[in-house]
Symmetry: C2
Subunit: 592 residues, 2 copies
Amino acid sequence: MPTYTPPTKDQQFLLHDVLKISESDIPGYDELDRDFTAAVLEEAGKIAANVLQPLNTVGDTEGCTLENGVVRTPTGFKAAWDEMAQGGWMGLDAAPENGGQGMPHLVNTATGELFSSANMAFQMYVGLSHGAASALAVHGTDAQKQTYLPPIYDGRWSGTMNLTEPHCGTDLGLMRTKAEPQDDGSYKVTGQKIWISGGENDLVENIVHLVLAKTPDAPEGIKGVSLFVVPKFLVKDDGTLGERNSLSCGGLEEKMGIHGNATCVMNYDGATGWLVGDLHKGMRAMFTMMNEARLAVALQGYTQGEVAYQNALGFARDRLQGRDVTGTQNPDGPADPIIVHPDVRRNLLDQKSITEGGRALVYWGAQMIDRSQRMNDEDAEEMISLLIPVMKGFLTDKGFETTVLAQQTLGGSGFTKEWGLEQFVRDARIAMIYEGTNGIQSLDLVGRKLPSNGGKAIMAFFEMVRTFIKENEDNQALKEGFLDPLKTASKDLQAAGMYFMQEGMKNPLNALSGSYDFMHLFGHTVVGLMWAQMAKAAMEALDSGASDKEFYETKITTGRYYMARQLPMTATHLVRIQSGAEPVMALDAANF
Amino acid sequence: MPTYTPPTKDQQFLLHDVLKISESDIPGYDELDRDFTAAVLEEAGKIAANVLQPLNTVGDTEGCTLENGVVRTPTGFKAAWDEMAQGGWMGLDAAPENGGQGMPHLVNTATGELFSSANMAFQMYVGLSHGAASALAVHGTDAQKQTYLPPIYDGRWSGTMNLTEPHCGTDLGLMRTKAEPQDDGSYKVTGQKIWISGGENDLVENIVHLVLAKTPDAPEGIKGVSLFVVPKFLVKDDGTLGERNSLSCGGLEEKMGIHGNATCVMNYDGATGWLVGDLHKGMRAMFTMMNEARLAVALQGYTQGEVAYQNALGFARDRLQGRDVTGTQNPDGPADPIIVHPDVRRNLLDQKSITEGGRALVYWGAQMIDRSQRMNDEDAEEMISLLIPVMKGFLTDKGFETTVLAQQTLGGSGFTKEWGLEQFVRDARIAMIYEGTNGIQSLDLVGRKLPSNGGKAIMAFFEMVRTFIKENEDNQALKEGFLDPLKTASKDLQAAGMYFMQEGMKNPLNALSGSYDFMHLFGHTVVGLMWAQMAKAAMEALDSGASDKEFYETKITTGRYYMARQLPMTATHLVRIQSGAEPVMALDAANF
């Protein structure tokens, strides 16, 4: 059975040594001193390790069942949900006037990491509800907010997002679900939605569905899509539940992983709903939530990597096979632990350096979302918008890769259900697909975010890298191991951007053919920046006489590994990008 | 439901246009003209597509069950087994005097590809039996061969390989299973073996277990291991079955994939067995079989890639989402098929170029095994021994990667069980682990094969590449797209070998830390050589006025893609290798 230990120390290092959050000018951050975040993370860690983690295998094994329209979640999920609700974790970063705790999004991200590592399928019920509530909080009327938000944030109700239909996922302009206006201002919503996470469940009294649909007079395509709130039970004026709405769960998907989460076919048969936000502006309402939603998926990538790494590490320390080539390390045992072998260490350090770099990137992203939302900082908004597809695409690819590496550490045991590593692989796989496949992320990055506002955000990113290098180039330890490789990676990224500008002008296919490589090239570069910042923070801590020397030295050593052995991938991505459209487009579709 | 179409044309291209087998001097190859192999492949293809493929999902869903010591394989497996047996497929390449068909190993490899793509879990029963029989054919006494081989090759009996024990897999010197000599020349075998594929099954009348064990007087460690044949039912002098031996299946593993194959815990309780080969030379007997067994696993890698690619391609042609940025391709439909999008093509071409390159490499390897075995050609034996860890490690990593890419082509549908892609991912995963994990392959390559015989084999490989380039450098079309990138890759490989020689002398950890990257660097280079050879063969076919122009042009275009976008990975592998032991070894085991 796999285990999970909350990595509180690593989290605190990022929040306080690297991001120095309590010194930040973001409203609400001044309260976030070391003791405060330690207390929050400790409480969340207890729930993660003691309540959610033991249910992870249960959820995978039992899965969800649908009987007579009722979805049963796995044994223990309802009790865990109630415990989460009572602890106030559902609305940790929601506005107090809507029933939330008013904490920064960064804190919710850090606690969400713990829940997600412990039980990704469970945490999806929480995360999707949170996402639906956030959309309502931004775009709903005051009445809608008063009706729906407090019950979601106190865990009595849950929420869902309904986008996909059988014939359209990426291309939502093809949507067929209809919303017909009624005389009382409501709409009758009719259509089928698929892949609705938590669309039906036995955790809550009511489910608040946010549904994209088209009104009869709507313009063609994506510009005719509107957003509707369609509750499972209609809500009376006093907030109590009224009659059952005309919607139902028509089936559950059988899937590769996240079995504990119910993936529902949802049928709307003239269900009563109300417009959220402006008519025909449904996609815009969704886009508002996209940074937050995609950051949450980026987080899923490294959180599955984290728990997989922990279990791989435990195995590598316990399993005795072979001897250290440089001399026996465990003379009293029949063999040495396999962590002595260079290739096992290579494998573990890939896992560790990617996971810790990914965490840094996601926390920085969450801080930018706070800066954007709490200070209306447009620069932060532009930077996070640029980086979101990188975070989602790169970190979920790398998170999945990490679970596969961790599984490999265990050899044959990694393939068995007994050790649990294979579940992390199966669960992590979905994060590369949903919230926009990683291919779509790369198109969003190259086609939309990169050229946006004349390339202002990417220029600001390069400036940030340049400034960091310049400010620290007198630090010799940092320069050789971190700043020099970062400079090389950043140059590769600039060269790729230049190639897109020059050759993409001539033929857009030259840019689109390299979009996936660009996403990874950017991902490596920005994680390289994170490691350089972490190394600097660790060196400062050591210089100021921090007691836990080994912890900070380990950060530097892990970072040096990343810079030496992961970051050089930027060169190959650049070569691929510069090969242009020809190799990708040459073959006729009929001849594949 | 996934589909599978035997890629007969691609197979024939390799056998006749590239390897030109019927012109070869290898005994038995002169019979292998186009018509002959076409007939064999067509028959095998029918069984693969019509009998085995429909059982692939069944096997995954039902799995195997153990009840009262009896293992039941999934519905239909027994009938399929009997059909395979009646067709003579079990002993296709076995010696006629042992009851086989006497065909070259290459032909068995080509038919095995079809069975493995169609149903990997099923084909493992066939493959493991074949492996056990091959070990007996080489090391068994005449009496042992007469007793065990004909019933295995005609499919009445099956065979297994018993190496792993709970506390040892890689480090078999720690083995505890005992074999005590009896007065009649037999041994009593006692111990527990795990992960025994097909250890118990209902396909056959008898199961011939090959078991590694130690005699009481054996030297310590790996040098004290002997090989024994331990049948489930003892065999009477007339070949009929006698009493049940003291061995049993103690349990089935629950695993990530290959559910149709029974992975057994085998308990030997003083079971009667007989020595195979020399006392204390059990590992040598196993090693004899290793090239063949590991080539079979390398094949599994690309065969799962092949079937996954076929289904991804079908989806990419059918699924309508979005429009071609260069102009609408499907004006009568609501959207264009997704194969028009550059990033979808990039994904498909990665799959296609890796799979076809992998097939070429495996066929070439099978031909070298024939050359080694049928002509006692030591150069071929040394070359295949050098390349086997590369083929096994690189092609199974890439095969798994291909299934993941194919799954990604389908977006959300790829994650559902309904479309079947996720099974290919789960099944392909095991090939990176068994028959020696890919980490172990890389150690075998760098620690043993590379320096073997003064580096003779790797020198011969470089000479082969040099000669090929030199002989063809006047061919401009080949030079730019193929020979130049191949030269670059080969130089990277040479530089890595040089680094190991120079720095590995000083500190062996400098070589061991780069072993995995070296395996991939070598893999890319040799697949690059395969593509250069395929391109040359395709150009020759076009020059000689071959009727199927598009087929040959597609080969060249696919190869150009590989050279432009896959092969450049060699540079990054070299940089990682040259970073040496320091980044990998710096961190103390306690601080991971």
